[in-house]
């Protein structure tokens, strides 16, 4: 669904899977471009969430990136080698 043409790409992992996205993509766009619409489970109901407001206000799109838990996917740019995981809506990423 990404409408941009060919250009430099970045490689990253989401939930163990190897994916790519155009350079300059936010994590939200990178995931949506790969057909992934949700990357967080709410704490109370365990329901899936992804993008909502798209401009960094609603904090629905939280995702874990490398060592950092609960970052806004619509604000953070994806970088080569990023290890991205679904957020459990807490500010803590357990070391596996």
């Amino acid at each position: 669904m990404s409408a941009s043409g060919p250009g430099p790409t970045v490689s990253f992992r989401y939930d163990g899977a190897a994916l790519t996205a155009p350079a300059g993509s936010t994590i939200a766009a990178a995931l949506i471009g790969n057909g992934i619409l949700s990357w967080r489970m709410t704490r109370r109901r365990g329901e899936p969430r992804g993008l909502f407001c798209g401009i960094g206000q609603c904090q629905d799109c939280l995702v874990d990136v490398n060592e950092s838990p609960a970052l806004r996917a619509c604000q953070v740019f994806v970088r080569d080698g990023d290890d991205i995981a679904a957020s459990r809506s807490v500010g803590w990423r357990d070391a596996d």
Partner: protein, 483 residues
Amino acid sequence: MRTEVAVVGAGPGGMSAALAAADAGCQVVLIDSASGVGGQIYRQSQRPGGETDPGGGPAGGGLPAPLRRVAGHPGITLAMGVSVWQAGPAGSGFRLHCVTSQAGGQGDAADVVDAQAVVVATGASELVVPFPGWTLPGVVTAGAAQAMLKAQQTLIGRRILVAGTGPLLLPVAAGLARRGARVAGVYEAAHIGPMLSGLPAIARHPGKLAEAAGYAAALARGRVRTRAGWALAECRGRDRVEEAVLTRVDRHWRASGPARVVPVDAVAVSHGFVPVLDLSRALGCRDEPLAQHPAATVVVDARQATSTAGVFACGEATGVGGAAKAELEGTVAGAAAARHAGRLDEAGFRARTSGSAARIGRAREFAALLARLYPLGDGWLAGLRPDTVVCRCEDVAWEELTGALAAGPSDLRSVKGLTRCGMGYCQGRVCGPVVQYAAARLTGRRLDAVGDLHTRHIITPVTLGRLAAADTGEPGGVPDSEL
């Protein structure tokens, strides 16, 4: 970092203010939490080589020429990817406590910006009232669909429904269609057709009418169904939205006809805008609640001065009215800030702002017109189910909110404490206006009598480490000469 004028928000209002102050000779720092200037309406592409897609901005593409000077102006320091988390008086001016916002801030943001004058240009956030299924993945705000398109050249889906109310629906739909999305329909809840004919005031803004007609024509050419007097009642799907349920509604948004079910894979919804007030309140600026809308606007005089000396406000913060109003007000606010900082005398101020008053008056008139064209109905309250989420962050259900409201005179602070509405990560940015509206309607009180959730003593989340290291000392005596 020490400066003369700090402008917070780099949309059309903030950019105009920064230019006006810098043109008057001030040192200006222009701050925005996004990765680049433009705000929402002039959002730039974030992809290298990605075209800045028009996507609906009235100028038809990119930054309007007058605003492009921001990038190279010697008097303006850009601080992009920076959020202000706390602000207050310091010495004879103000101190803004800053933190990198994660939006690709380069290097270390200054921890504090000390300024003699501040211009608040923080814009508005989108209002979305809840409905069953609104938390399904794939349901996003109209602003999100637009931001994804303009900044990331990414479509949120292949078959996208656009619904809600307000002047944003048409340009968003047109932008999506221009990019090759299948727009499954544009459904506007307001009975906009009959209203247009009944309002002679619209004739005073022929440019705006033509603009709207242009979008409608573009959609008609693409055979996109556009309807007025229809509301999005429900979204359904398992792990993502798969179909949207629409109903005819009366002027109060109450269902007045059978439902139509439309297969979709994404929905862009918007019910209007609410000015962002946390920074203005942190600086002690007075705001005034609106009578019919769960929102308030910063009170300013003819020079865009707020009730706090040295703080000025422009753009959506003083009333939702679009880019033209923001740019006009921003120019006055920037000049007034320069005057406050001692760079302009009264004659100089007048020279730079002559003619603005009348134009701002017309722009504000248009903003008031928009509010009347796109009122907020209350029929959606009847469409909520007991388990419909009303606070997205904390998964608070409608029946919990109504239960709390049944317990007594419901000021929002008590409701928040009992239900946890507004206590999550977004701190009430999404649910605050909704809870305020519901509280007022269900208890029969006025909108401005129940309080609101706009006050945030910590404006944006900040780590305890950063808080512990915050510089709360006196501002230094000698201004920094470095950037």
